[in-house]
């Protein structure tokens, strides 16, 4: 199969998740395809971003896409924003997981600034795409502006310079530390661009203070272990040739950095220090589903397996689980390598071509249904979202082009000190 045909099938297969798993009444999208899954606001952000790609590819009528988008935005505009334990959000932010039908908070989860940022990346993508003067598209743009403007980013700092990882009505701000390079570039860009409740510009530099510039396996890189960190903000922001003060100092950019992160993933897979994979080194160490909390002794080694965690290399955690979507989503950075990795996966697991939708993870060293080891059941929305967007960016650059013209993105990047390239 030719590369473009393969990519088309994989992208459409991934997009199908949003058709299958969206509640048409409120636009919320299930976190996973498993029974009883709640909605994830981050997955909604990916869904909203994927509709323009689907329209351009002829998989969805523009009017249908606009209607889906408007339904979603109206839900977020009208849902409850207060301190009630079953509200939908607070201070313009939203709870990480919502009941798919009612849209109320579930699992006592946190108000999540990072997941809200992913949601708003989708909302802003929609606002940038639906620019016609129809009543639907006009309302989409107005709602997107209102929803974005009302987010109180400054509150989310909890009087610190950097943003807290979350807040709960029962216990206040979360205590989790957030050190080093992570997926939060998008959050800070949107936060410091806010017209009404912005983060101070210093928040961005405070966040970058915990960066580590390292030479690992002979590669100079701004280190982050899990691959998704090198991808999520890149789904919307075209980081090619634009530099913030840190990257100017290092003579690199975040796009190039993601390429290097892939080199490290591949080298780690080749070295295979934990002796997990016996042949055909697979890479794609990232956040994703796992075999579950298991402790096994294999060939004299204690093996511990995890549930859904952010796996990373070379410092771990690594339980031998590979996130295939993370390898595929590396397409814009390293097309040949990403395609080669995916062809390898499909050779190992040809049944994935039935739906052309990748599972969240597989682990040949963990017990599974057959000798090929454990494979994650069903599908996860984040995986499908990043696959749709990154394939689209590789094929046409559509999402990047749309967001280059988005005022919050441009303003945020400039305030963060980015210069050069298209900016």
């Amino acid at each position: 199969m030719r590369d473009d045909e393969l990519l088309d099938r994989l992208q459409r297969g991934a997009f199908g998740y949003f058709v299958d798993q969206t509640n048409p009444v409120n636009g919320l999208v299930a976190d996973t395809s498993r029974a009883g899954s709640p909605a994830s606001i981050a997955v909604v952000g990916f869904a909203l971003s994927s509709y323009p790609a689907a329209v351009e590819r002829g998989w969805l009528e523009r009017e249908d896409a606009a209607t889906r988008t408007l339904v979603t935005l109206r839900f977020f505009e009208r849902s409850s924003q207060n301190t009630d334990p079953d509200a939908t959000g607070y201070k313009g932010f939203y709870y990480h997981f919502l009941d798919l039908a009612s849209g109320k908070r579930v699992w006592q989860c946190e108000v999540s600034p990072i997941d809200t940022s992913l949601l708003f990346a989708g909302i802003l993508t929609a606002a940038a795409y639906f620019t016609e003067e129809t009543s639907t598209e006009t309302e989409i743009r107005a709602l997107a502006r209102d929803l974005y403007d009302r987010i109180d980013w400054d509150w989310a700092r909890n009087d610190n310079l950097t943003v807290a990882q979350g807040w709960k009505p029962e216990s206040g701000f979360l205590n989790y530390g957030w050190q080093g390079y992570n997926e939060a570039a998008l959050l800070y860009v949107l936060g410091i661009a806010s017209p009404r409740h912005p983060l101070p510009t210093a928040s961005y530099s405070a966040w970058t203070t915990t960066y580590q510039w390292e030479r690992i396996y002979g590669v100079d890189v701004l280190y982050a272990g899990p691959l998704f960190i090198h991808q999520f903000s890149h789904a919307w922001i075209d980081f090619r040739k634009i530099q913030d003060p840190f990257m100017r100092e290092k003579g690199s950019d975040y796009f190039e950095n993601s390429r290097r992160a892939i080199d490290i993933q591949r080298e780690y897979a080749r070295l295979d220090p934990n002796e997990y994979r016996t042949s055909n080194p697979c890479w794609g160490f990232s956040a994703g589903d796992g075999p579950g909390r298991l402790a096994l002794r294999v060939r004299g080694r204690d093996r511990r397996f995890f549930e859904y965690v952010a796996r990373g290399v070379p410092f771990g955690p690594d339980d031998g689980t590979i996130a295939p979507a993370a390898a595929l989503a590396s397409l814009p950075f390293a097309p040949t390598l990403a395609l080669s990795a995916v062809r390898n996966f499909l050779e190992l697991y040809p049944e994935w071509t039935h739906t052309w939708r990748l599972p969240s993870g597989f682990n040949p060293s963990a017990p599974g249904a057959d000798s090929r080891g454990w494979i994650s059941e069903g599908h996860f929305g984040l995986d499908q979202g990043i696959v749709v967007l990154m394939i689209e960016n590789h094929r046409s650059g559509l999402i990047w082009k749309l967001m280059r013209d988005s005022l919050p993105i441009r303003t945020g990047l400039k305030r963060a000190g980015f210069t050069g390239g298209w900016l």
Binding site: N175, G177, T210, Y217, D220, E249, L271, R299, R304
Partner: protein
């Protein structure tokens, strides 16, 4: 005679050049250094010579850790191509007997007789400053030109409801155990908590480790903490990060403990609790006000970079001034104080490359500046990292967990700091520490000859990575040209 044998204190005569309160490692090293240089020295101890380190801290814990590693290695025998010994059972009383035996041997080395024979006046009793230049010990008044306060610290007693009633262990009494706790809760994910949690888990206790932060060893590199977390989990330790211990109560034979993570409460039943949540400095009862020495009950005695207190005659070092960020500065502090107090030295603590180590498996050692610290000071830095799984000897030893990270000022070969995570990181860090103290840079480390294969090759490889990164096209062209002739 050992330190615990009754003896007669000397009668003070004249003014001491250096009077030292506290005969832990800092005090002992300062006393020996000063007396070897001809000073008249008084050393006052209220309890046991050797202090916490020898009697209840570093030495006993390293002894038990060694045994626990042996048990781990026995269980891992298959990994080394060996047979797992059949019927591995832990003889806990024998483990603790070895701790006491080792402690007794080392105690002999710091007996009062040996110190007296060196020319040190050793006093046993409570020292109390009577003025700016005098101390009382019992009825005796000792006068000094300079003094060093090295009274150390004691474990924090956490204000957890019910914990005092239920009883708990600290590093002060855990080595007195004669029976292994079947279920042990360790509160605190700092060095003490992590080391002992791992040791007891390997000796067969079912260990739950609770840390109120999002990672262990909060002052260390995040990647080091990640590797440690994985290692502790492999040892079967149940880990609770970002978790507070909120209540303890006794029900029959069980001690019931409430653990709260965010808004979720979990209850665990254990046999014993070990607390390792830090120390408070021993400043009480010293009469520091009379000596005009400023202090704080929580942070200890205030000292400057020369280890001098607010009384210029009096110095302080070690855990009694916990504002010092270095946990293991005994030998450095002893030397600095002797030099600065007796010989008009101007040695600064901040100028020292002081390494330290957490003796978990793998060990975590650090020297110098952290990357975050450097970036907060706007110093551009770059780190050269070598994973232990790149090192031949580490692979041969099946000791591949860990790394060496050398951090330099960007564009230079000057070493600002280093972190080593490896089974013997505490030994490996010394080469880097020596290089930093001697002003050697990465060029020197890259050129240093080493026997092959050794795990310290990782340091050389990291230094070589720096040298390779400095290759520029002109140099490469010149080399190619030269070789083509």
């Amino acid at each position: 005679m050992t330190s615990s044998t009754p003896r007669q204190d000397p009668n003070p005569h004249g003014r001491y050049h250096l009077l030292i309160v506290g005969a832990g490692p800092t005090g002992l090293i300062a006393a020996q250094t000063a007396v070897s240089q001809g000073a008249r020295v008084a050393l006052i101890e209220r309890n046991l010579l050797g202090g916490t380190c020898l009697n209840t801290g570093c030495i006993p814990s390293k002894t038990i850790i060694r045994t626990s590693r042996l048990y781990r290695d026995m269980r891992d025998a298959e990994l080394f191509g060996a047979q797992v010994p059949s019927g591995i059972t832990v003889d806990f009383p024998a483990v603790m007997e070895r701790v006491r035996r080792v402690r007794a041997r080392l105690t002999e080395r710091v007996s009062a007789e040996r110190l007296v024979a060196m020319g040190i006046d050793v006093y046993f009793g409570e020292a109390r400053f009577a003025g700016r230049d005098s101390v009382t010990v019992g009825a005796k008044v000792l006068r000094f030109k300079n003094a060093l306060i090295a009274t150390g610290a004691r474990p924090v007693r956490p204000p957890i409801p019910g914990i005092e009633e239920a009883g708990f262990l600290t590093y002060e009494n855990v080595f007195d155990l004669t029976e292994r706790p079947k279920r042990l809760l360790v509160i605190g994910g700092g060095p003490v908590g992590c080391e002992l949690a791992q040791a007891f888990a390997r000796l067969g206790s079912r260990v739950t480790l609770v840390q109120d932060e999002s990672m262990f060893l909060v002052h260390e590199e995040r990647d080091a903490a990640q590797l440690l977390s994985d290692a502790l989990a492999r040892d079967g330790i149940e880990i609770h990060l970002d978790t507070q211990t909120t209540r303890v109560r006794v029900q029959g034979d069980d001690t019931i403990v409430d653990l709260v993570n965010s808004d979720t409460t979990r209850t665990v039943a254990v046999d014993r609790i070990l607390v390792g949540v830090g120390t408070v400095p021993n400043v009480q009862g010293l009469g520091l006000e009379a000596a005009s020495v400023a202090y704080d009950g929580a942070r200890g005695i205030r000292v400057d970079d020369f280890l001098r207190t607010t009384n210029r005659r009096i110095f302080a070092a070690g855990d009694v001034c916990t504002e010092n960020k270095f946990p293991h500065i005994e030998s450095v502090a002893g030397r600095i104080v002797t030099s600065n107090a007796l010989f008009w030295g101007r040695e600064r603590l901040s100028a020292q490359a002081v390494p330290w180590c957490t003796f978990t498996d793998p060990e975590i050692a650090h020297v110098g500046m952290y990357v975050t610290e450097a970036r907060q000071k706007n110093i551009p830095v770059k780190t050269f990292t070598v994973l232990m799984h790149e090192v031949d000897r580490a692979i041969a030893d099946s000791e591949e967990d860990g790394f060496v990270k050398l951090t330099v000022r960007e564009g230079t070969a000057k070493i600002l700091g280093a972190t080593v995570v490896a089974r013997h990181a505490g030994d490996l860090i010394n080469e880097i520490s020596l290089a930093m103290s001697a002003g050697l840079d990465l060029h020197a480390l890259a050129r240093a000859n080493q026997p092959f294969p050794t795990q310290s090759q990782a340091i050389k490889m990291a230094a070589e990575a720096y040298v390779q990164s400095r290759s520029n096209p002109l140099r490469t062209w010149l080399r190619t040209k030269r070789l083509s002739w």
